[in-house]
């Protein structure tokens, strides 16, 4: 066995062997500190131990294996907008207005704020009730009434197959300007409403299928710069859309319109 410590205490290793000059002098600050420590040794040690434990625990907590953060979800992936159908426009709506309802549904994910609802046609304006911004948390399902107002009949689309409803959505991760393509029924209702809204003035009615000819025949001069001259659409019998179940049967479907254009297999 090869011990390296002294078998017996060596010189100067006993307490009593210590240099007498190194002992605290009574009445000095060092002596008072020593006496205070002697009196409070146990609480001091307990406190120090607690501090060490706390520091260790804190360090362990800070360096623990963290749960993976949920992936950043774009708000457009957690919100759905579906078309419900035509509605009566509000009494305060201007002439050439029509309304329909959509349902905004929030799927599981971070809360989303709907900050804007718009549509892409320059000749048509849009308002909604409720007005954005409004929040949509998971489980949110709310009916939103959209009212569109035709400002310029000469520039509204004739019979668009897949019009958008553009919705700007925001969550903590991103802002998305997302197009919701509400399908054939929405396209039909919008086209029907636009036609009905502008039908009483042939100079400014929406463009039929051969748009090239119509663009040439109806230049921008056919606008309604003076609203007072516009036909009245908001009377009870002319309010657009006059859309109920029966009027769907009269519409030209998107499929019909595409049939002449789509070729046989190449």
């Amino acid at each position: 066995m090869s011990g390296i410590s002294p078998v017996e205490p060596g010189e100067g290793t006993r307490a009593g062997d210590a240099d007498p000059d190194s002992r605290p002098v009574p009445g000095t600050p060092r002596q008072r500190l020593t006496e205070w420590y002697t009196r409070h040794r146990r609480p001091m040690l307990a406190g120090a131990s607690a501090a060490v434990l706390l520091a260790g625990g804190g360090s362990f907590y800070a360096t623990r294996d963290k749960e993976p953060e949920p992936p950043a979800v774009h708000p457009s992936q957690t919100v759905r907008v579906t078309y419900l159908g035509a509605e009566s426009p509000p009494p305060s709506a201007p002439t050439r207005s029509f309304s329909f309802a959509v349902r905004v549904t929030a799927l599981p994910g971070p809360p989303v704020t709907v900050t804007r609802i718009s549509q892409p046609y320059a000749a048509v304006s849009l308002t909604s009730a409720p007005r954005p911004p409004f929040s949509a948390k998971a489980g949110f399902a709310r009916k939103i009434v959209i009212t569109m107002h035709v400002m310029d009949c000469s520039h509204v689309p004739g019979n668009a197959g897949l019009p958008f409803l553009d919705v700007t959505l925001r969550n903590t991760n991103a802002i998305d300007n997302h197009s919701f393509i509400l399908g054939e029924r929405y396209a039909q209702d919008v086209s029907q409403a636009l036609r009905a809204g502008c039908a009483d003035d042939p100079e400014s009615s929406p463009k039929p299928l051969n748009t090239t000819e119509i663009i040439r025949a109806h230049p921008a001069s056919s606008h309604y710069p003076d609203r007072a001259n516009q036909p009245e659409f908001r009377s009870s019998t002319h309010r657009v859309p006059l859309c109920n179940t029966s009027c769907h049967n009269k519409r030209v479907t998107a499929s019909d319109r595409l049939s002449s254009a789509f070729p046989a297999h190449a």
């Binding site: 949920p70 992936p71 950043a72 979800v73 774009h74 457009s76 992936q77 759905r80 907008v81 579906t82 078309y83 892409p120 046609y121 320059a122 520039h155 689309p157 004739g158 019979n159 668009a160 197959g161 897949l162 019009p163 958008f164 998305d176 300007n177 997302h178 197009s179 919701f180 393509i181 509400l182 399908g183 054939e184 029924r185 929405y186 396209a187 463009k207 299928l209 051969n210 748009t211 090239t212 663009i215 499929s255 019909d256 319109r257 595409l258 049939s259 254009a261 789509f262 070729p263 046989a264 297999h265 190449a266």
Partner: protein, 417 residues
């Protein structure tokens, strides 16, 4: 470098794992498995099911084709690693159709002849799909395309007037051109403010169909078609068409076709002094388009199926795993959809096996095809399920623009009709 203690522990773990594996193998070997002439093959330790892949693995469309193949491979590896279908090991058999319908049909016949094949992912091209559908349907072998967009493939040749499913065995995870064409037209007319278009297509099923649905909507919106031309996809000199475009007052070119033509066409249009964007569909949404178009392609636009994969939380794991596997080729436009197509087959196989006491039934192919109709799962591209025509119920599209030598998403849309 690991410490000695760690090495000792690792050795112990290896020994224990080996012992457990040996035990498991022994138990598996002791179990009997009667396949009864069904699809798949009993390899002694379970059943092997092959998922066929048909895509252009050589030729001009290789970039997209290899992205499809690799993504299916990843799905199969993931299913095997997770032992997702108890007792079943998946393999892939990838065949090259070179983008040619005749090759696709030969591949379909070959895949049908292999009884281990219980599902096929592909093809890329709608024209190739047309040549394969009947072969698969006669054999009741399910086919899930991640990329075909021609509406007629699911909704019948008269889909415009009367939607009618022709082949019960055909499914797809991609959105159709019935939506993609109008979506592009709406963006080009309303957002990009382009009013006069020159339309070019390659006369193929996909290209002509997409150009047609785009044109119809563009005209409805008030846009003007100032010229139309067809090109031969086998040529690279488009000077005659470029001259016509240059002499027109078009402010945009729409091309129905794929990037091997679209890239050079875009470049030649700009080189001729006509600085207008070229717009196309998912067939040009490839990094190879940018290579072919060069810097002149900046500002060109493409629509493609789905939301940007990188933006989908559901796709992050796919992207990470794809990178981890070290595939040389990018997953490209259809990677996420290919993974989901393969996984749909895996889900259908799982359902069939579980419904048959853990074994494949005699009529496994028919049962898998039947099960596919009700498959529903959260995939890479979102919720994956199919409607009554075999079309994906999840219909998203995105407009991309070439900026800084890359495709950058500009706007996404979701069809909720």
């Amino acid at each position: 470098m690991p410490g000695k203690g760690l090495i000792v522990r690792q050795r112990s773990l290896i020994a224990i794992t080996a012992a457990l594996a040996a035990g498991a193998l022994t138990l598996t070997a002791c179990g009997s498995r009667d396949e009864g002439g069904s699809g798949g093959s009993d390899n002694g330790g379970g059943t092997t099911v092959v998922i066929g892949v048909d895509a252009p693995l050589t030729g001009d469309l290789t970039a997209l084709g290899l992205g499809i193949k690799n993504s299916v491979d990843l799905a199969v590896k993931t299913a095997n690693k997770d032992k997702y279908v108890d007792g079943v090991t998946f393999e892939i058999q990838a065949l090259d159709d070179q983008g040619q319908p005749s090759s696709g049909q030969q591949n379909a016949t070959k895949l049908v002849a292999d009884e281990k094949v219980l599902g096929v992912v592909g093809p890329l091209n709608s024209s190739v799909a047309e040549s394969m559908q009947k072969v698969f349907d006669d054999a009741k072998l399910v086919e899930v395309s991640p990329a075909n967009t021609n509406p007629a493939l699911t909704q019948g040749p008269n889909w415009q007037t009367k939607k009618e499913r022709v082949y019960d065995s055909y499914f797809r995870t991609a959105t159709t051109d019935a939506i993609q064409g109008p979506f592009a037209a709406q963006y080009v007319y309303n957002d990009a403010k382009k009013k006069k278009v020159f339309v070019v297509d390659d006369k193929k099923t996909y290209g002509a169909g997409l150009a047609s649905t785009f044109t119809a909507e563009f005209k409805e919106l008030g846009g003007e078609v100032v010229g139309t031309e067809h090109v031969n996809p086998d040529t690279k000199d488009f000077s005659a068409v470029v001259t016509k475009i240059k002499n027109s007052d078009a402010d945009v070119v729409y091309y129905g076709g794929e990037y091997p033509v679209a890239g050079p066409l875009s470049k030649q249009i700009k080189k001729a002094g006509k600085d207008i964007p070229l717009v196309g569909g998912d067939g040009i949404y490839s990094a190879d388009f940018i290579k072919l178009a060069g810097t002149e392609g900046t500002g060109d636009l493409a629509t493609s199926v789905g939301a940007p994969v990188e933006d989908l939380p559901s796709a992050k794991e796919f992207v990470a795993n794809y990178e981890a596997e070290g595939y040389k080729e990018a997953y490209e436009a259809y990677g996420g959809y290919s993974y989901d197509s393969a996984w749909a087959i895996i889900e259908a196989v799982k359902k069939v096996v579980e419904d048959n006491d853990g074994k494949l039934p005699d009529d496994a192919r028919a049962k898998v095809t039947e099960a596919m109709q009700n498959v529903s799962f959260d995939g890479v591209t979102g919720k994956v399920s199919f409607d009554e025509f075999g079309d994906a119920t999840n219909k998203q599209l995105t407009v991309y623009s070439v900026e800084g030598g890359q495709w950058k998403p500009v706007k996404s849309g979701t069809y909720t009709g």
